[in-house]
Amino acid sequence: MKRNKILITSLVILGLVAIFKFVACVTPEKPGDSALNSDAANKVYVAPGEYDEFYGFFSGGFSGQVSVYGLPSGRLLKVIPVFSQDAEKGYGYNEETKPLLNTSFGFVPWDDAHHPELSQTNGETDGRWLFINGNNTPRIARIDLTTFETAEIIEIPNSGGNHSSPFTTQNTEYVVAGTRFGVPYPQKDVAIDSYAENFKGMLSYIKVDEKGHMDIAFQILLPAFDYDLAHSGKGKSDGWTFFTSYNTEQKHDLLEVNASQNDKDFIAAVNWKKAEEYVAQGKFKEIPANYYINRYDDDTHTATSNLKKTVKVLTPEDCPGLVYFLPTPKSPHGVDVDPSGEYIIGNGKLSADLTVHSFTNMLSAIENQEYETTIAGVPVLKYDKVVGGVVVKPGLGPLHTEFDNEGNAYTTFFISSEVVKWKLGTWEVLDRIPTYYSVGHLMIPGGDSHKPDGKYLVALNKITKDRYLPTGPEMNHSAQLYDISGDKMKLLLDFPTVGEPHYAQGIAASKLISNSKKIFKLEDNQHPYRALGEKETKVVRDGNIVHVYMTTIRSHFAPDNIEGIKVGDKVYFHVTNLEQDFDVPHGFAVQGARNAELLIMPGQTETLFWMPEREGVFPFYCTDFCSALHQEMQGYVRVSPANANTPLKWSTGEPES
């Protein structure tokens, strides 16, 4: 009896221990980060006063801006406003930059900026300009890298969701734009379910001249697929551009299901050199289309808007050999061309494998007319005649691929949240490393060019969760920096970003430094309301419009006392910064202004509009701590009732002889 009791008790205890052990085994446990190698801190340390080796231009997504980070330090260098008004710099608020945001829809002070693209010469980044697309109101902007400021914005007509853009050709002959959303062509009031019949997908080629000025050279009319991303060829494939498409089902509702039915969608291969020939032969239709070209001039310090009325449209039916479709599994997102120009990677985001087309195969398939079928005049090449290789089951949800200079490719996988390194030609997977979390684009400086700098890789992630101190429900997006100089990728750094960086491009600092402008020469200032010295300052009334020709120099405004302004006047403060010293901007703000401030660079003139609505005496002051006497840099403007007879007068004390 007693023995039995002991036995039973023992068994029970043993059983409990076993159960406990079993439960303990399945207790949820957070998978650990990959071990950070101990020299990571050394590798990202950039000593005070030193510059980073590379700089990355990160799109801001819905911030409409571009942010610039040093690499490898991850230090934020600058935020460049592009499609969004920026009160910090008065961008889109001052009279000079407002025209940059004009569109055929009117003034649009926001956009969704996705893909920065550095200008190239011979397929290499050259440090002249950065282009970036605006998605919502289709636009492309050009940032001048001598000033890190937006210099031009062109609107893309016949387009909706300018996503497959700007992706330059190898000598920046063109940047491209492809519509992600099919839209009625021409835009009109039709039933949405007449999609297949009335909707089209337009690809646009925007010519870039040697000054960087953009204009639409031609558009190509295609079926209303969703043209998602693009890359132009280089080296042997120079002269071609490749656009991915999804929704080849041409559905218009519940796309997450309806546009995910076809096993293969298409990469559209466009022969743009052929297109140039067709345009020269007059094979285009000149179609009415309203779009704006807005350009900033460094001499007048002013942007002007130019409304264009027509575009040249090429149709594949009329232009054989212009476009081919390359079947690609499945709903491909990014399309990336390797540094040699031979391989075209279709990142089929719903596909288990990664499809790589061969440019050489494509040319012979075209030559031998290996067509599966023809859609709207576009031959569909046979898949097995164009495919060059397949990376088998590398991960889940491939989105984008970039390259190093040693024949390796690096692909991001959104669903499995990792970067996978694989070999071009052998298609074998070499390495994989987690990202935190759900990586979208990746960036290797020069990684989409003919000459990548295969030292660092940046993962641009869509989800942040626990990476940083929680800041309420909204978290900054995260980026990780990896060392890719060895066989194994190594995590070096993790840093938060501005807005939602979709894509980024990187360039060696040495390609930027020598181009940078330090001041604007005062003698070159051609602003119509400039005052090139204090002797030229004045206040001019024209009806109820008042122009104030004002100057700044350390540490006063001229004039700094103004009287004779009346309630309801439209006052324009045209402020010229007379400084000719590097890094001496002055600011200008006046009480009651309902826009923003001015931030005027040396030698520049900027204009703030002000409509006083109350009588009184209102201070204005310098907003940029310019000097030891910055606090004294202030003045007054007296506002009299609308019917008053206060004489117009202005003065500046006697600051110095």
């Binding site: 120099i553 350390r554 000719q580 030891a628 110095e656």
Partner: protein, 192 residues
């Protein structure tokens, strides 16, 4: 043999001509806010700097402590130095042609004296700029002098100021040196 002093004096004249090409003197100001320095150049006939805005930038800095504005138009020496130099060029060539001993001596001595007078004049200007201060200046420092050194280094408030010859300054010295050499050679040859 007797050609040597003439040749050396001609070289001295060539060195003088170089003075027209480069600045004679430079005043370089370093401060925490000016890591690359503000470099002001004094030419034979103008004032300048390493950027077109240098003079304006120096004047802006000076106005805080009430120093006078440096205006090239108000400095008569800038108009005088060219004819003086041309005189030495012509006289130097005449010396080389006529090859008279006294000419060598006079030319060299005059050049050195002129150089020293020029330096003294430079000191007077610096003294004037450094000490004539606007009583209404925003910043006042009791007993402070803002006079840059004639030659060498001096700390003035937040600035470290260097005053040193530029290329043409060295050319001037070389020219005087060659003048001395020519005189010495002439003296030696005429004794022999």
């Amino acid at each position: 043999m007797s050609k040597l002093p003439r040749l050396v004096n001609t070289l001295a004249v060539v060195a003088l001509l170089a003075v027209f090409l480069w600045p004679i003197w430079q005043i370089v100001l370093y401060a925490p806010q000016y890591p690359d320095g503000v470099k002001m150049y004094i030419y034979v006939d103008k004032l300048g700097g390493d950027s077109p805005g240098t003079l304006q930038n120096v004047n802006i800095l000076n106005h805080y402590v009430g120093m006078k504005k440096i205006e090239p138009d108000s400095i008569p020496e800038l108009k005088l130095m060219t004819p003086i130099l041309l005189f030495f060029v012509v006289f130097g060539l005449i010396t080389a042609i006529f090859d008279k001993k006294w000419m060598y001596y006079v030319w060299t001595l005059l050049l050195i004296v002129t150089f020293l007078v020029g330096l003294y004049d430079f000191y007077l200007w610096e003294y004037d700029y450094g000490h004539t201060l606007d009583p209404n200046a925003p910043m006042k420092f009791d007993g402070a002098s803002f006079q840059p050194p004639v030659f060498g280094k001096k700390v003035i408030l937040n600035f470290v100021v260097y005053s040193i010859p530029h290329i043409a300054g060295y050319c001037l010295a070389i020219s005087a040196g060659l003048g001395i050499l020519a005189s010495f050679l002439k003296y030696k040859f005429s004794k022999a």
